[in-house]
């Protein structure tokens, strides 16, 4: 019996120790998928080579719950985190993230203005756009109005299961100009209008939750069109799939680096962010996945062929719309909740 207890104690302490060993590494959490692969090539591996530390990559789905629980209980196992705008602002206000010392991160003026904030440093510009399979559709759709047009473009459509972007797309389809979308959405009537427009299309929608789903569904013919992250579509194009992106009516947004409040490796985390945001590293990232750099110097380094595929290319910005972080900070929770209830109703 004593023997067994010893064994058990040994097993438990070994398990606890396994958790502790990792503290020496820098845990960098991203959204995974194709973007994580590009980050590995452009940021993680080169950072490991500098000898400043070793990156331990991880992924999450953007849930702030884990971060909140970690910070509230001061049991922090993550260091650097990739977040979207609204989560960054909200988390910063709720004290989930460290305030960044920009003097260590390079010249503020070298970055696009949205990339510079109290708790975050912009990593790249990505876009959610209409994508379709050119092999399956005889006529190419050109706008969200076409997306809603089930008569001329019959078949299922994919949309992300969430209020963010979906409501904007509904308003664009309803004829609202990109510049007015958030003005309209800011009113009660505007929200009703967006949901009403969505009601029209509801029977034809297949909701996706993971970024990998739209390209697969499009390639397999499960849906004829879908909203999709432009980087995922580009990855599918590289594999030889005939998928196309409609930049008109696309919504672009930034992802940011932030540091979890109370991170044990704050200095190393700052070094990592500064390193990743260097022009030469952002350039490699954009070459691996077509997401636009936030460092203006990186844009200058890019091959024009690569640059023309980015959401930030001037020709791709025509008819595109910048997401309003302010709007989603304010209304996000309420609208996501309402959207979820709406989607769950028959």
């Amino acid at each position: 019996m004593n023997h067994r207890i010893q064994l058990l104690a040994l097993a438990v302490s070994a398990a606890l120790a396994a958790g502790a060993v990792q503290a020496a590494d820098l845990t960098v959490i991203s959204f995974g998928g194709a973007s994580q692969k590009a980050q590995d090539a452009a940021f993680y591996k080169p950072f490991d080579k500098t000898g400043a530390g070793r990156v331990l990559p991880g992924e999450y789905n953007g849930e702030m719950a884990k971060v909140k629980a970690m910070v509230e209980t001061n049991n922090i196992s993550w260091d650097v985190l990739e977040v979207e705008g609204p989560e960054l602002v909200r988390g910063c206000a709720e004290g989930l993230f460290e305030k960044l010392d920009w003097s260590q991160l390079g010249d503020k003026s070298k970055f696009v203005p949205e990339a510079v904030s109290e708790c975050g440093a912009g990593i790249f510009v990505w876009s959610t756009a209409l994508a379709y399979n050119a092999e399956k559709l005889a006529k190419a759709p050109t706008s969200w109005a076409d997306f809603w047009n089930v008569k001329d473009f019959p078949g299922k459509r994919g949309l992300r299961k969430g209020a963010k972007y979906t409501l904007e797309f509904a308003l664009l389809a309803d004829g609202v100009k990109p510049a007015d979308v958030y003005k309209v959405l800011g009113t009660k009537e505007g929200i009703e209008r967006a949901f009403k427009k969505l009601d029209e299309l509801k029977p034809h929608i297949q909701w996706w939750e993971a970024g990998a789903q739209p390209p697969q569904w499009l390639a397999a013919g499960d849906v004829v069109m879908s909203s999709a992250y432009n980087g995922r579509i580009a990855a599918a194009q590289k594999e030889g799939k005939k998928l196309e992106v409609v930049w008109n009516g696309s919504i672009y947004d930034l992802d940011h680096w932030t540091i979890i409040k109370g991170s044990k490796n704050k200095d190393m985390a700052m070094k990592f962010i500064a390193f990743a945001n260097r022009a030469e590293n952002q350039k490699v990232f954009a070459e691996n996945i077509p997401y636009g750099p936030t460092n203006n110097d990186a844009t200058k380094l890019l091959d024009p062929k690569v640059a023309s595929g980015l959401p930030t290319a001037p020709e791709n910005l025509v008819g595109a719309l910048a997401t309003s972080t302010e709007f989603w900070v304010e209304k996000g929770e309420e609208l996501e909740e309402r959207f979820n209830a709406w989607a769950a109703a028959k």
Partner: protein, 272 residues
């Protein structure tokens, strides 16, 4: 069927067997259908198969993520099994020793992890472990999985103990054996089939657990089911089919062990 059965009874007799056959087919078909797909050379999960290939297994065993998940599962599941089995067996012996006030309630609480909706357990543990610093630790994950496995150990061991003749313990004690010796030399060998099947149940519970893990584990503690859940959600690739096949083989092994234990137990009882 009796030889004097009427035509309607004959028809009914065969119809009944056909219905049962279809239900049994419904039970096993999905499990059997996925196995060949893991050896398919094409990346499409459809029949007819295009050729035999081990490439998906190579991919599985060569993938850092899957191997890490397998390693984590092999850390968590056995530890949880050991915990659940030790605590559960001890308590089951205590429970069958006699009546005491509130026994029914205690029993109900000990069994309840089996019926409480798993999401509630997961969210409750998430809040509670966050408060006491067990979130994102192996220890927390192991404790949680052990709690989920306990009811199975209790049920199987109590059932086995019901057939245990307590006079054997008394005889051993009267011959001067201390209680621990009585337990390890007399009781345990006799109830071992029950303990092992309880342990198998506990192991299967942990090895298949995904919801609690989703809430409690850190990214580096992903278990096999969790990795699989992510895979199913994004894209059912043939790699998923090959993980599924491996897990099916494991469950067949466990099922056969259980069957063997059951027969052994019946034989022992028949002899006693």
């Amino acid at each position: 069927m009796q030889p004097y059965a009427t035509p309607i009874e004959r028809v009914w007799f065969y119809a009944f067997r056909v219905i049962c056959g279809l239900v049994l087919l419904y039970l096993v078909l999905p499990i059997l259908v996925i196995v060949p797909l893991s050896f398919n050379s094409s990346s499409f999960l459809t029949y007819p198969l295009s050729g035999f290939s081990m490439r998906w297994y190579e991919e599985f065993f060569g993938s850092h993520e899957w191997m890490m998940a397998l390693k984590n599962s092999l850390i968590v599941a056995p530890s949880a099994t050991v915990l659940a089995t030790c605590f559960g067996t001890l308590a089951a012996v205590g429970l069958t020793r006699g009546e005491f006030p509130g026994k029914a309630l205690v029993m109900a609480i000990l069994i309840s992890p089996m019926v409480v909706p798993i999401v509630i357990v997961a969210v409750g543990l998430y809040f509670f472990f966050a408060d006491i610093g067990l979130l994102n630790t192996y220890a927390g994950l192991i404790l949680a999985h052990a709690a989920l496995g306990v009811p199975f150990v209790i049920i199987t061991v109590t059932a086995t103990l019901q057939g245990y003749n307590t006079n054997l313990s008394r005889a051993a004690a009267s011959l001067g054996a201390p209680p621990l010796t009585v337990f390890f030399k007399v009781v345990l060998p006799l109830i071992l089939p029950g303990v092992v099947s309880g342990a198998l149940f506990a192991f299967a519970t942990s090895f298949d657990e995904v919801v609690v893990t989703l809430f409690l584990a850190s990214p580096t503690q992903r278990t096999l089911p969790q990795q699989m859940f992510g895979g199913i959600r994004e894209n059912i690739s043939p790699t998923i089919a090959c993980v599924a096949t491996i897990m099916i083989v494991l469950s067949v092994l466990m099922l056969l062990t259980m069957e063997w234990l059951r027969r052994r137990n019946e034989k022992l009882r028949g002899a006693g």
